[in-house]
C-alpha cells in the first residue's frame, strides 16, 4: 500500500492518479482514526471521566427557574436541598439539613443544618443562606412569577410576596447559624418532601447576587436569563459547574474537592447533548459515550447482549386513559366511564405494548406511594359487561373522539401509536365508535388536551416525590382542567377532599383519607382509567460502576466510577 504513490518514476497516468487518490484517502482515514483513538484514550485522570448522553439541551442551570429533566439532571450534581432522596427510592433523607421537626399544626418546621458546608464559591452554607434562598424564591416579581419559569414554586408553594395568590410560604428565620425555621401558612402532606425537588436546591447567595440571578425578563417570544443561570450555577454538591460549550453540545462538570460528604470518584462528568435516540445508542456502541437515559424498549435486549448494563428502575409513573367530561355529555355518566374501564384489556396492553417490568395500574399511583388502597374496585377486561353498562346508560351508540399524541415518547408511554391502536381495538370490541385524533405532542396535542377538547385521551405522569398529592392532587384538585370534573356534581367535592387530605398533619389520618379517596376515585368517580406503570431504563457501558438507578430518574453520579481510566 505504501509503495503505490511513488511506484512509478514516469508521470502517472489518469488511472494511476485515481488509484493514488484512493490510497491517499485510505491512508488519511487510517491516520485520522489513529489520532482520534489516541485522543479518546488520553482523556481523564486518576478518577476518570464519564460522558453521558443527554437527550436535549438543558434549558438553563438555575434549577429554580427550570422544570425540565435535562436541566435537573445536571443541577442535581451541583446543588443540594435541605432534604434529598434516598438513592434508589422516592423517600426523603437528610441532606443539607441533618434533622428536622415540626409543630403539631404542621405549620412551623425547624431544620438543623449540617455544619462546615461551603458553596463552591467559598460562601458559608448556614441559616442565613437558607433564608436568603427562600426569600429569593418568594420575592419573585414580573417574569419570575410566570408559570414557565417558577413552575415548581407555583405548583408547590402557590403565590409570591405580592399576595395576589395565597402562598404556602410565610417566612423564614434563623435563630442561629446552624438552624433555619420555615413558617408555613397551612399544613401540607408534601412537606418536607417537596424540598428535595431540584428547584428548591440551596444556591450561593453571593453568586446569585453577583450574577443577578433574579434578572429574568420576558422578551420577544421567550424569556431572557441572567448570567447566573447560563454560566454560574453555584451549589454545595459533589460536582462544580465547569463549562457549557453550545457549539459542540457539551456540558462539563468537575469534581468538588472540598465537598463535605463522600467526594465524587470521577474527575470530570461530561454531558453530551444527542437529541436522536438512535444516535445515542450508536454513540454508546462506538464508545463515544458511557451511558444514556431512556433507551428504546425495543433495544434493551440488544444493549444487554452487547455487554452493557441495562438497569430498569422501579416504576414511579402512571399512564391513564383520560376522560374529559366537558364536551361529550354521555361521559358524565359513571356507567359509561366504567364501560370504558371494562372495555380496555390492560393485561394484554402491558404484555404486548410496554417494556419488561411494566405493571397494570389499579389506581392513579404506584403502590410505593403513601395512601395506596389495596381494596379499590377492579375493572377486569370484560367487553360484555362494558356493552351492558352502555345499554343501561342509554349510550349503546357511544362515539368518542380519542386523542393520541405523535412525535413523542414518554417514560410511561413508550409507543403512543401502538398503545392507541390496542386501546381503540378494545373499545371497538365493546361496541364503541372511535374517532381517532392524532396530533404532534407540541403541535396541538397538549393544547387540545389541556383545553379539554378531547373526549378521551392518552396521557400520564411521573411523580416528583412520594406524595399522593403529587399525583391525584394535581390530576383532580382542579375541577376545570383537562378532566373537567366540574361537569359532574362530585367534581368540587373531590377537589375539597383532596385539599383536606393534603392539609392533614397527622400522617396516619392522612393516609386513611387518601385511601378513602382512592376507593371513591375508582368506584364512585372514575374521572379517568388508570392503565399502567412502566419502568424506565437507563443504560451504561460495562466499564461504568456504581450507578444507582432512581425511580425519580434522579441519579447521582458522585458514586460512579469508570474502569480502565
Amino acid at each position: 500500500m505504501s509503495r503505490a504513490p511513488s511506484a512509478s518514476r514516469r508521470a502517472p497516468s489518469t488511472r494511476r492518479r485515481v488509484v493514488a487518490a484512493g490510497v491517499a484517502l485510505v491512508a488519511t482515514t487510517s491516520l485520522a482514526a489513529a489520532c482520534a483513538q489516541s485522543q479518546r484514550e488520553a482523556g481523564g485522570g486518576a478518577g476518570g471521566t464519564l460522558t453521558f448522553g443527554a437527550a436535549g439541551a438543558p434549558d438553563l442551570f438555575d434549577p429554580f427557574y427550570a422544570s425540565d429533566g435535562e436541566t435537573f439532571r445536571i443541577t442535581r450534581q451541583i446543588m443540594e436541598g435541605l432534604v434529598g432522596f434516598k438513592p434508589g427510592s422516592a423517600d426523603v433523607e437528610p441532606a443539607l439539613a441533618e434533622s428536622w421537626e415540626h409543630t403539631p399544626d404542621g405549620k412551623t418546621w425547624t431544620f438543623k443544618l449540617r455544619q462546615g458546608v461551603k458553596f463552591h464559591d467559598d460562601t458559608d452554607f448556614n441559616g442565613d443562606a437558607v433564608c436568603k434562598n427562600f426569600q429569593r424564591m418568594f420575592n419573585q416579581t414580573g417574569a419570575g412569577q410566570n408559570n414557565a419559569l417558577s413552575y415548581y414554586w407555583i405548583g408547590s408553594f402557590g403565590g409570591f410576596a405580592d399576595g395576589k395568590t395565597p402562598s404556602l410560604y410565610q417566612s423564614c428565620e434563623t435563630p442561629d447559624a446552624a438552624t433555619a425555621v420555615l413558617h408555613l401558612t397551612r399544613a401540607t402532606s408534601k412537606f418536607p418532601d417537596l424540598l428535595a425537588l431540584p428547584s428548591f436546591s440551596m444556591q450561593s447567595p453571593t453568586a446569585m447576587d453577583r450574577y443577578q440571578a433574579n434578572n429574568v425578563q420576558a422578551q420577544g417570544d421567550s424569556f431572557v436569563y441572567p448570567e447566573y443561570a447560563k454560566a454560574h450555577p453555584t451549589g454545595t454538591g459533589p460536582f462544580k459547574f465547569g463549562s457549557y460549550e453550545e457549539s459542540n453540545g457539551t456540558i462539563k462538570l468537575v469534581r468538588n474537592d472540598q465537598y463535605w460528604g463522600t467526594k465524587a470518584k470521577l474527575n470530570e462528568l461530561i454531558f453530551r447533548i444527542i437529541p436522536d435516540e438512535t444516535v445515542r445508542k450508536q454513540e454508546l456502541e462506538s464508545g463515544a459515550i458511557d451511558g444514556y437515559d431512556l433507551p428504546n424498549a425495543a433495544d434493551l435486549k440488544a444493549l444487554r447482549d452487547a455487554g452493557n448494563n441495562v438497569q430498569v428502575r422501579d416504576p414511579f409513573n402512571i399512564m391513564y386513559l383520560g376522560i374529559t367530561q366537558k364536551n361529550n355529555p354521555a361521559l358524565r355518566n359513571l356507567k359509561v366511564r366504567q364501560a370504558l374501564a371494562y372495555a380496555v384489556d390492560r393485561e394484554t396492553l402491558v404484555k404486548a405494548n410496554l417494556p419488561e417490568g411494566a405493571e397494570v395500574a389499579t389506581q392513579f399511583y404506584p403502590n410505593t406511594v403513601d395512601g395506596y388502597a389495596q381494596d379499590v374496585q377492579q375493572y377486569p377486561h370484560d367487553p360484555a359487561k362494558a356493552r351492558q353498562l352502555l345499554a343501561e346508560a342509554g349510550a349503546s351508540n357511544l362515539t368518542v373522539n380519542f386523542y393520541w399524541p405523535t412525535e413523542v415518547t414518554r417514560p410511561y408511554m413508550p409507543d403512543p401509536q401502538g398503545i392507541y391502536n390496542a386501546l381503540a381495538e378494545d373499545l371497538r370490541d365493546a361496541g364503541i365508535t372511535v374517532n381517532p385524533v392524532s396530533k404532534p405532542w407540541n403541535g396541538g396535542y397538549i393544547d387540545d388536551v389541556d383545553n379539554a377538547r378531547a373526549d378521551i385521551f392518552l396521557l400520564g405522569w411521573t411523580g416528583d416525590f412520594n406524595s399522593p398529592d403529587n399525583f391525584i392532587g394535581i390530576f383532580f384538585g382542579t375541577p376545570t382542567n383537562r378532566f373537567y370534573t366540574a361537569a359532574s356534581p362530585w367534581g368540587e367535592e373531590l377537589a375539597a377532599q383532596l385539599r383536606a387530605a393534603d392539609g392533614e398533619p397527622d400522617e396516619t389520618k392522612r393516609n386513611q383519607m387518601y385511601q378513602d379517596i382512592n376507593r371513591k376515585l375508582l368506584s364512585e368517580y372514575l374521572p379517568a382509567v388508570p392503565l399502567s406503570h412502566s419502568p424506565p431504563a437507563i443504560v451504561t457501558s460495562s466499564k461504568v460502576h456504581g450507578l444507582q438507578p432512581s425511580p425519580l430518574n434522579a441519579e447521582e453520579f458522585a458514586s460512579v466510577s469508570v474502569s480502565g481510566q
Binding site: 489518469t14 482515514t29 487510517s30 485520522a32 482514526a33 489520532c35 482520534a36 485522543q39 479518546r40 471521566t49 460522558t51 439541551a57 438553563l60 422544570s67 410566570n146 408559570n147 414557565a148 413552575y151 407555583i154 405548583g155 420576558a218 420577544g220 417570544d221 421567550s222 424569556f223 431572557v224 436569563y225 447560563k230 453550545e246 457549539s247 459542540n248 453540545g249 457539551t250 462539563k252 453530551r272 447533548i273 444527542i274 437529541p275 436522536d276 438512535t278 444516535v279 450508536q282 454513540e283 456502541e285 462506538s286 464508545g287 412525535e407 404532534p440 405532542w441 407540541n442 403541535g443 396541538g444 396535542y445 397538549i446 393544547d447 389541556d450 383545553n451 394535581i474 382542579t478 382542567n481
Partner: protein
C-alpha cells in the same frame, strides 16, 4: 455590471422581506406553539393564558409581525424558546452556523474535486468501464437517501471498524481554544494542530454523506456539458486546425462546459443546507440543520425565523455570486 449587482441586491432584500412575512404567518398557523414547549405538559389553561399575555402572543398576528420587524431592524430577532432556551435567536444561529458551513464547504469541495474531473473523464471515455462505473455511482448517490448513507457510513467506519469518530465536532476531552467557531480554522489560528486535525477527522464521514447528492449532480452535469461541447463545431474546427489536445481540452472544451456546472454548484449550495438537516442529525453536529429539526419539534419560532431567513439569504447570495462569475467565465456576458 454595477447596476446589475445593485438590482440583484435589491431583489435579495425583497426576497427576505416577503419570505419573512410568509414564514412568520406560516409558523403561527401550525398547530401548537411555543407556549406548550415552554410550559411542558403540566400546564393549566390559566398558566397558558398568562404566558401568552406575558409574551404578547395573544395579540393579532400583524401586531406580532410588526413588533418582530421593529426589533429585527435593531438586530434583535427574538429569544429562543426551545433550541437554546433563553439565548438570542441570532446568537443561536451564529453559534451553530460555523458547524454547518464547515461541513457544507468540505462536502462541496469533495463534490467538486471528485465530480468535475470524473465527469470530464467519463465524457472523454464515454462507454468505458470508468464511464459506466461513475454513472452507476452517481445514480446510487442520488437514489440512496442521505440519512441512510450516513447511518451506513457511521455503522461501518465508526461502530464496526472504529476507525473514525461516530459523531460530534471534536472529542470532548480536548478543551480547544475557540476563536471563530470554525473548529478547523480555530485549531490552525491558535496553533493547536491536534485540535484542528481532530475536528477534520470528525468531518470526514458527514462530509462524504453530505457530498453524495451534489457530487452526483455535478458529475452528471459536467459529463453532459463536456459531451455537448465536444460535439460543437468549434471543437471540431480546432482539431482540424491541428491544435494540441491539451489546448483543446482546456481552452475549448472545459472552459465552455463550465457554465452549467457553475450554475449547478450554486444551486447545490441550497441542497447542501437542506441535506445538513439529516446529516447533522445522524452525526449529532450542533449546526443549523439540527437547530431546524429541534426548532420545529419545540416550536421555536425565533430560531426557525432566523435560520430559515439566513439560509435563504445565503442561497440567494451564492446564486448572485454564481451569476456574477458567469461574466468571468463567458466574456460575451461582460459586454451586455
Amino acid at each position: 455590471m454595477l447596476r446589475y449587482t445593485i438590482r440583484r441586491l435589491a431583489q435579495l432584500a425583497l426576497v427576505v422581506v416577503v419570505l419573512s412575512m410568509l414564514l412568520f404567518a406560516w409558523l403561527r398557523m401550525l398547530p401548537g406553539g411555543p407556549v406548550s414547549a415552554l410550559l411542558g405538559d403540566r400546564a393549566t389553561p390559566e398558566a397558558r393564558a398568562r404566558l401568552e399575555a406575558d409574551l404578547g402572543l395573544d395579540q393579532p398576528i400583524f401586531v406580532q409581525y410588526w413588533r418582530f420587524l421593529a426589533r429585527a431592524v435593531t438586530g434583535d430577532f427574538g429569544t429562543s424558546t426551545g433550541v437554546q432556551r433563553g439565548s438570542p435567536a441570532l446568537e443561536v444561529f451564529l453559534t451553530r452556523f460555523p458547524a454547518t458551513l464547515e461541513l457544507s464547504i468540505l462536502a462541496l469541495l469533495l463534490a467538486v474535486v471528485v465530480g468535475i474531473p470524473l465527469g470530464y473523464l467519463a465524457a472523454r471515455k464515454r462507454g468505458s468501464w470508468l464511464d459506466n462505473l461513475s454513472i452507476t455511482w452517481s445514480l446510487i448517490g442520488v437514489a440512496v437517501p442521505v440519512f441512510f448513507l450516513a447511518f451506513l457510513l457511521k455503522f461501518v467506519f465508526a461502530i464496526e471498524l472504529g476507525v473514525l469518530p461516530a459523531s460530534g465536532r471534536q472529542d470532548t476531552g480536548l478543551d480547544a481554544t475557540r476563536v471563530t467557531g470554525f473548529y478547523i480554522l480555530d485549531g490552525l489560528l491558535t496553533r493547536e494542530f491536534d485540535a484542528a486535525w481532530n475536528s477534520f477527522v470528525h468531518l470526514i464521514l458527514p462530509a462524504i454523506a453530505l457530498s453524495t447528492i451534489p457530487f452526483a449532480v455535478i458529475f452528471r452535469i459536467t459529463r453532459a456539458a463536456v459531451l455537448d461541447v465536444m460535439d460543437e463545431d468549434y471543437v471540431r474546427t480546432a482539431r482540424a486546425k491541428g491544435l494540441a489536445g491539451m489546448v483543446i481540452r482546456r481552452r475549448h472544451i472545459l472552459h465552455n462546459a463550465m457554465l452549467p456546472v457553475v450554475t449547478t454548484i450554486g444551486l447545490q449550495t441550497g441542497a447542501l443546507l437542506a441535506g445538513a438537516v439529516l446529516t447533522e442529525r445522524v452525526f449529532n453536529i450542533a449546526g443549523i440543520g439540527q437547530a431546524v429539526a429541534i426548532g420545529f419539534q419545540r416550536k421555536d419560532f425565533p430560531v426557525l425565523q432566523v435560520v430559515i431567513l439566513a439560509s435563504a439569504m445565503v442561497y440567494v447570495l451564492v446564486n448572485l455570486i454564481v451569476d456574477l462569475s458567469y461574466a468571468l467565465i463567458d466574456p460575451r456576458l461582460r459586454t451586455r
